[in-house]
Amino acid sequence: MSTLVAASAGNVLVWIVWVVAVFSCLGSGIAVITFSNPFYSALALIGNLGSLAVMYLLLSAEFVAAAQVLVYAGAVVVMFLFVIAYVGPRRETPWSGGPSWQTVGAVGAAGALLVEIVVAVGMQANGSLHSDGRVGAAFGTPAWVGRVFLIDHLLAFEITSVVLLIAAVGGVILGSHTRRTA
């Protein structure tokens, strides 16, 4: 009895955390695309990434959650902020400019994609996507991820590292001062 109460109390807590995380995630996502100043957009993205990390934790993906905070919030967004500071503030009104059919079409296409995905998920929700029991304690821990990554998916790991290397070289060349311009 006490374990049941404890379990249901834990469940309510999880629900509360989840709802907060979802609202924070979607709110900050909308904020990213509506702020006219890209600097604020980038700050909103940090919030978005953080709330996503919370959801990852709820899904027993501890290592990915940590990586999300470290790599995204810590590195990628900081790089964004640097570049935004470097190019200086440029304002733009988010909902204007370009042909009007472009905006209408954009909303239509994005809406259609959204509806379609929701429909697709909904068709599965009561069937195979119904949740099931617990997972092992090791699921999502760094040691487990490391084993899966370096044993089962070694080739993917190597390819990823090569992609990163190429991107780094590309970034350096694009940003290089000594590059001869036409």
Binding site: W15, L26, L59, V107, D132, D152, H153, T160, A167
Partner: protein, 102 residues
């Protein structure tokens, strides 16, 4: 499993993906377009991790890590382009970069 079903996570991912797509489609500032792309990638990541949890299969998480690496690469190149555009005194408005006009 505590909390909501995996389906709810996937639904959130879908909404986040829609928001990101809308941002890519309607914003004209290159930097904000890149940020919106990040949103879309993260929506994909959320769906991957949710389904990985659902199937008790680690490959989804590995895939999410790979996506992160690709996202980092994309940011690297994208920001490199922004810097290069800026150095050439070109506008960062994607609508002004219309040399492909037929």
């Amino acid at each position: 499993m505590l909390g909501p079903d995996v389906a709810w996570y996937v639904a959130v991912a879908a909404v986040l993906f829609g928001i990101g797509a809308l941002g890519v489609l309607i914003r004209r500032n290159t930097l904000v377009v890149l940020l919106s792309l990040e949103l879309m990638l993260n929506a994909g990541n959320l769906a991957l991790i949710a389904l990985s949890r659902h199937w008790h299969n680690g490959s989804g998480q590995i895939f999410a890590l790979a996506v992160m690496a690709v996202a980092a690469s994309e940011v690297c190149v994208g920001l490199g382009l922004v810097v290069a555009l800026n150095r050439r005194r070109l506008s960062l408005d994607v609508d002004t970069l219309s040399e492909l006009r037929g």
